[in-house]
Symmetry: C2
Subunit: 651 residues, 2 copies
């Protein structure tokens, strides 16, 4: 955490000074906003938290609930999400209060006595150490609280406007001469009261409407982000179609406090018995657990019958499945019948597929609004957060004048593929979990699928294709452990200035900046005459260097690009006095040196080995959302300049 | 973190439900209080935070400042203090914002050119891995903030009463028939305004008095804790004498933002040059650093002259010492001339030394009020916090009816020795640091002393002597790695219920409870017939078992003693169904099982090996402040019962 350099910070350094429109933020919703986010679930809150780092932009987030979410909904937090929390500054706090999954147990009918279940297998949860962060379980409400805190403590000082329901929108068409109004989207909202704070609507359930007040208003926006969940009206308003199986699967979900002799009650379990299936998720705090009790496929002519399944029925069924163990339920703070199909929307913005590229999208949909699926792989909240981050930084860039609006077209292009893959994965996993053990080809098929595909539900299979913001794989060989298009996997290094062991990736906060990592050639640090020094001097001085071309006048030199170096030597062998000054910029009102850009290997865990980095050095470019954008040789300065000319606008 | 078992917790689980006197805490200072703490520095705040866990007790803390400390004072946080922060629930947060010391550099005159300094040595800061926690630097104000948060979020809901100055006190003597009034201490306070929030008074400096309002009041207390710093009036009011060298040493201290070519500006350094000495402490946030510039011994006839040393003079001297490097100071948010002698008060309570044991002490002094010394070993705040914790849990026990008032006599007995040792250590270290390099016997004497004595300043040399709360060393051989009287050094284990790798000691929160760790014999878990099972069954059932004798009726069985077991097997080999139920108590309104008391070894770091625990098992008793109170064989149930009969009162 870096602070004090703009003046002494006496209180919590997580509270950044307000800036721009955050200084005097209007209490009431203004008539014109740059970005209107609809819905304060995971997708909307991440987008808001990211945009709060762009205090030049007027961002508002409307939510029909009267206040924060209090209970229920999702709870599975994949490691990729914890990495994201780290970027938003709250990983260590949420880890401290969450349940951590280290193993998963598989219970099946006991072959000796199939009426009983027995523990058939236990598999480690992260067999390959895919992230330095754990796999967690914690209620969605707490995740939202932390993002809300970040949004509020960021320079833009964003807080949700509660009690407003999105009703519809209208996008102005270009006039005859092709001009578009500055605020082309007109949005209609209605004041609502009394929407349950623990409620929400899964895709098939009836919407829980609040008392309508009749108080309506319109406002105009440059862009709208629909993060309004499975029954999204924003999706409807842009005429996108939600495609997918009409068939729904229902689960009785209950957050439970109970006494039981089932020995794995604090372990994540898949329980398959002759009486049905349970997915058991231990929860934060050491006592609560969640059970998803399988209620089967919902027939077309069900007409909501499944939704009338009572809590007592769910509990009875759970006891049946757990036989010979029993569940003596003492308290159920939340339960629901959670029904979803596998659906994905055909497009994630307002531009019809056959018109893509012809105009700037103005309305985006994110999260459950554009993809729904079962809860079993614990994906909904996680994928939604990545949607929100993706659109958040892109809107920030465009509205801040850093990038061309064409950047916004990459949102659909990138996230639609992810959603389709997710639905595919979830369909397979759900089918497997619902299959009777005796019908499986191989009795270990389930746990093997789980182990084999682990990387997917952990959130690390996303690999964006080449685009204006993702380079080609031409030089991938220089850093094989940083696959282009995948998220930058952190590794240990040592900070030169103080010898502190740190994770290189953890300096990458969700501040909207690009990271450029220069992995040095083998030469000792020198101001001139090494491949690294030549690159660094070019970056500092050349007119086509992205630093020179794209950093606004008067701004800190690292305000758009945060450039770091990692030397191949241990930290004691790196003489700070010989490190090119590109990596020791002087910033802020006092012109103080930033010492946190110069790293050395951790001799016990050499990052060059761990990440397959060529000893001749390499440049790794990372996007604001932590995805690797490019890998280049130190010598390829023209390619680097060219890459950024395709992304960032000169200032 | 355990929660939800008393009902669903929707918000931050760190906020515990208010209880007892915390439910309707009076805004204004009441006329009668159980404990009055004077001063909200580290000693007072820790005592308040601990007492906030005893919501049956009316505790108030008065402070003459108008609000929180904002700047300045101490910043060195030894690992023992970070362990303490863990117990108070904020270690992970303060670590995230603090500077971490991993090395110390020693700069000396360059033998080639003694006018210049050169780096003579670099030593690791924690060569022996003495704690799983780091050595940190962070401003005292933030430490106080976190304790304030804990005190406020605890059941007792304690917050400081600002703007009150302690004026004096009077202790009622027993009447002719020996009775003592219920509230024997009458305290006079005065309302003050305008004391600087960044200010304070080191022992020799003029007190910074606020504007007196003349508004005075008295209140009556059962006990008073003087945590009012070096010029303590509470100390004065009990007639204790502050003994020690009259000679003072002065340092110009400045918290600095500067540009410099000194390469170790982000490393803790001892700098000895021909022009004088500097202790350099990098600070949190990556830019700020503190320099202690030696201003030498203060002559008897100085009459405050040294205090008139200007900031410019300090800066000029620093530049002289750093030659050939330069320091271009851009901003100094805080500076002070910090003068202290080495002093310790003869007694830490109101009972004269020759009357000790004859009556219950009513007034205690803690922290700088009873010991002052140089800032160079970074001890002041740390030792003060341990004082506060020590008196805090003891007052909690006595006022809660758990222990006899005789317990309070151990406060002086335990902490006075620590203070004396501290002064001794500091005297030696200060002398060494002030010695001209050419006058040292061996040029490496300084760094060798630092390395050799590392355990002391890290806070781990404290070892309490045998007393009513510290057993004899008779069975120490059963657990050589848990020295009786020293703090319980945590070690990794695995939680059986979920296989999570955890630190055994981290479950020990500052909740006022004793911990009893049963290290099992080698047998597999069984409900009967093993040494462990016999011990566990005795503990659950025998009339002289501390659990049976001392747990109040209707309270959770672990409300006074938290009993845990560690098996010698890996977690997968421990069948929860066979673990004695002593370790799986059912608690709270729903009678839910507590699964967080059963542990297994971590096969990679076997706690039995790491802590020298006998394979026949052992019982380790740990006090509420994390000090080991006793080590006993599993079979020695009479000794265990006897030990607690000497401490805890039957309910
Ligand atoms: C009842 C329920 C139970 C669930 N259970 C599980 C589960 O057990 N496990 C699991 O993994 N996932 C579960 N989910 C799904 C998971 O919560 C979602 O995948 C995740 O929250 C998606 O995030 P989101 O931001 O896209 O949408 P949401 O979290 O649904 O957020 C949408 C937000 O928009 C608001 N909103 C909706 N319409 C409007 C409007 N017109 N105007 C203004 N605001 C509006 C809603 O109030 C809500 O706050 C559940 C969801 C629901 C609703
Ligand atoms: C100006 C200053 C600079 C220091 N610099 C350093 C340093 O550089 N490095 C270092 O290691 N240590 C330093 N210290 C010492 C370090 O801060 C102390 O060792 C530590 O704070 C001791 O904690 P304490 O709680 O015992 O006392 P303190 O932190 O001194 O707290 C005492 C509190 O009591 C209040 N108080 C005093 N008298 C009254 C009264 N009559 N009525 C009500 N309230 C009262 C004070 O306002 C204060 O808040 C400094 C102390 C001071 C005062």
């Amino acid at each position: 955490m870096q602070f004090h350099h703009y003046g002494y910070v006496s209180g919590d350094p997580r509270v950044q000074p307000a800036a721009g429109v955050g200084i005097d933020r209007a209490e009431e919703l203004p008539d014109e906003v740059d970005v209107l986010i609809v819905g304060s679930g995971p997708a909307g809150m991440v987008a808001a938290a990211q945009l709060a780092q762009f205090p030049g932009i007027v961002t508002r987030i409307v939510e029909r609930r009267p206040g924060r979410l209090e209970i229920g909904q999702a709870d599975g937090i994949q490691a990729r999400s914890v990495e994201t929390f780290q970027a938003f500054g709250f990983a260590e706090r949420i880890i401290a209060e969450a349940y951590r999954i280290t193993e998963m147990a598989f219970w099946k009918p006991d072959p000796e006595n199939p009426r009983n279940i027995h523990r058939a297998a236990v598999t480690p949860d992260d067999p390959s150490g895919i992230s330095e962060f754990p796999h967690l379980i914690v209620n969605q409400a707490r995740v939202l609280d932390y993002f809300a805190e970040y949004a509020h403590n960021s320079p833009g000082r964003i807080t949700p406007d509660y009690g407003w329901e999105f009703d519809g929108l209208d996008i102005a068409q270009p006039s005859a001469d092709g001009t578009v109004p500055e605020y082309p989207v007109t949005v209609t909202l209605e004041r609502v009261t009394g929407v349950g704070v623990g409620a929400g609507d899964a895709s098939h359930a009836a919407p829980l409407e609040g008392a309508r007040t009749g108080e309506r208003r319109t406002l105009r926006a440059k862009y709208v982000v629909g993060a309004d969940g499975a029954r999204s009206r924003v999706r409807e308003s842009i005429g996108a179609s939600h495609v997918g199986a009409q068939s729904f699967h229902a689960w009785g979900v209950m957050d439970t406090l109970a006494v039981t002799d089932f020995p794995d009650i604090r372990t994540k379990c898949s329980i398959q018995s002759e009486a049905g299936n349970i997915l058991l998720i231990p929860r934060e705090g050491g006592h609560l657990f969640r059970m998803y009790v399988d209620l089967g496929e919902v027939p077309e002519d069900d007409h909501g019958a499944v939704r009338r399944t009572t809590l007592d029925e769910i509990i009875a069924k759970a006891n049946d499945i757990l036989h010979p163990y029993t569940l003596d339920v003492r308290n159920v703070p939340w339960h629901s019948v959670y029904e979803v199909g596998h659906r994905v929307t055909d497009r994630f913005d307002d531009v019809p597929l056959d018109e893509q590229g012809s105009r700037t999208p103005r309305v985006f949909i994110t999260g459950d609004a554009c993809h729904t699926h079962s809860a079993k792989a614990g994906q909904g909240m996680n994928v939604s957060m990545q949607d929100g981050w993706n659109i958040g930084w892109k809107l920030g860039h465009v509205l801040d004048g850093r990038a061309d609006p064409a950047l916004l077209e990459t949102y659909h292009a990138e996230r639609h593929v992810v959603a389709k893959d997710l639905i595919e994965f979830d369909r397979e996993w759900s089918k497997l979990m619902a299959t009777k053990p005796e019908d499986l080809g191989d009795p270990t098929e389930l746990e093997e699928f789980y182990m084999r595909t682990f990387e997917f539900p952990a959130g690390f299979m996303t690999q964006y294709e080449a685009s204006m913001i993702v380079g080609g794989a031409g030089h991938q060989g220089l850093a094989t452990g940083f696959p282009i298009g995948k998220r930058f996997k952190s590794a240990p290094v040592e900070r030169v200035c103080d010898g502190n062991p740190v994770q290189l990736g953890h300096h990458h906060r969700a501040d909207g900046r690009w990271r450029i990592y220069a992995f040095a050639d083998a030469a000792a640090p020198a101001a001139h005459g090494t491949a690294l020094a030549d690159w660094a001097n070019w970056l500092r001085e050349a007119s086509d260097s992205p630093l020179v071309a794209f950093t606004p006048d008067g701004a800190d030199i690292d305000s758009v690009f945060d450039v770091k170096v990692v030397f191949q030597q241990p930290h004691a062998a790196v003489d700070l006095g010989r490190v090119p000054t590109t990596f020791l910029p002087k910033n802020g009102p006092f012109g103080l040196t930033d010492y946190e850009k110069v790293y050395a290997i951790d001799p016990q865990h050499d990052i060059f080995e761990l990440r397959g980095i060529d000893r001749s050095g390499a440049v790794v470019v990372v996007r604001p959302d932590q995805y690797v954008a490019n890998v280049l040789p130190l010598g390829a300065v023209d390619e680097l300049a060219g890459f950024f000319r395709g992304v960032v606008l000169p200032r």
